[in-house]
Amino acid sequence: MSATSDTKHDDARRRFLGRMAQAALLAGLAPGVALVEVARARSADQAVTDAQRWGLLVDSNKCAQGCDACVRGCNEENGLRPGHGPATDPQWIRIVTLRDRESGRVNSLPLMCQHCAEPPCVDVCPTGASFKRADGIVLVDKHICIGCRYCMMACPYKARSFVHEELHDQKPYAPRGKGTVESCTLCVQRIDEGKGRTTACAEACAAAGHEAILFGDLNDPRSDIARAVARHGGARLRADLELNTGVRYLGV
């Protein structure tokens, strides 16, 4: 009797110890895996390359009606504040509501700069201020932007806006100023930090419990975004324009 209960206890103890050892091993290994990731990351003095192509995958089925967490997250991160009314207020992300006339299905999605591989805004810029970084991020060099707004006209997504008023208290890592055009930067300051950080909109969306926005490297087949695109696809808006956008949508 006592012998059987002892073996039973022994078994339980062995199983427990075995699992603890397994846990300890994993806990010990996991930081090692992270170190490999850090070693692959670019250092501050290295230029970006086309080894990466940063992008977003937006699942419009997960995007909740009436939620604007991504817009608020973006505004907070980049120091965008309302000032002189909706006509001139900065807006890097717009929430677009789609309604299918036949089925009556209504869904919403965040629309920001689509970070095209063939950006029309870059084609039309007379000064070279509008440019595409090697890693696929489309930006405005505000040092050389003259505020002509040709790029705003050329963008089929209406993603760019113009700063009409003098600004104060900008964020140190997101300079913005009157007389220049601006748009979503894919939180380039976070990407350059290189600590596996995601964009402010994706972070805010996840914090709101929706996880509709996935950020990552489309060129890395092991990344979450590349795997999700491989499995579920991901439509490009206005694919007929053949701009090869870096922002993809599901459920549109």
């Binding site: 930081p31 003095d45 890693d135 040092h143 600004l167 300079p175 950080r197």
Partner: protein, 159 residues
């Protein structure tokens, strides 16, 4: 004799010039820039080099950063401001372009307009939102992941 008189006159003139020069420095019509002391011990280049060439360093760095994503700290405007912004008695950072502050005092003297601060922040970033927060975020992420692994293993399911 005449020669002596000339030298004496020249000496007097020099003395006068020196004294006027001195009075210009102390109570001149155009006040000399009052350079606000930075919080660091030594700038990234010798002071004489910085006075002459700081705009060249910044100009080079801005292109490197915006177009190539190179964010080294040495000539970064953000790091300049972090060191050169003075603090008021309450410990709040004073904008570097406020009258009499580090950037504006020299630029007012030289009569050169600065464009930097139409877009760039003039005070260092608040500590809470800076690097410390990132580290904290990263750490809490790690702790969460390890906890998750341990619970999964204890429950007997493969992690």
């Amino acid at each position: 004799m005449r020669l002596i008189r000339i030298t004496r006159g020249a000496g007097l003139g020099l003395l006068l010039l020196a004294s006027t020069g001195l009075s210009m420095a102390s109570e001149s019509r155009v006040p000399l820039p009052d350079i606000v002391k930075a919080s660091g011990a030594q700038c990234v280049e010798p002071n004489a080099v910085m006075r002459r060439d700081h705009m060249r360093f910044l100009y080079h760095q801005r292109t490197q950063t915006v177009h190539r994503g190179i964010r080294t700290k040495r000539y970064s405007l953000r790091v300049c401001i972090a060191c050169h912004a003075a603090r008021d008695p309450e410990g709040q950072a004073i904008p570097v372009n406020a009258p009499g502050q580090f950037c504006s005092s020299c630029h007012a003297y030289a009569g050169v307009r600065i464009d930097c601060f139409e877009c760039h922040a003039t005070t260092p970033e608040k500590r809470a939102g800076g690097a410390a927060a990132t580290v904290k975020q990263g750490l809490s992420g790690w702790v969460g992941r390890i906890k998750k692994t341990v619970t999964k293993v204890l429950e007997g399911s493969p992690p």
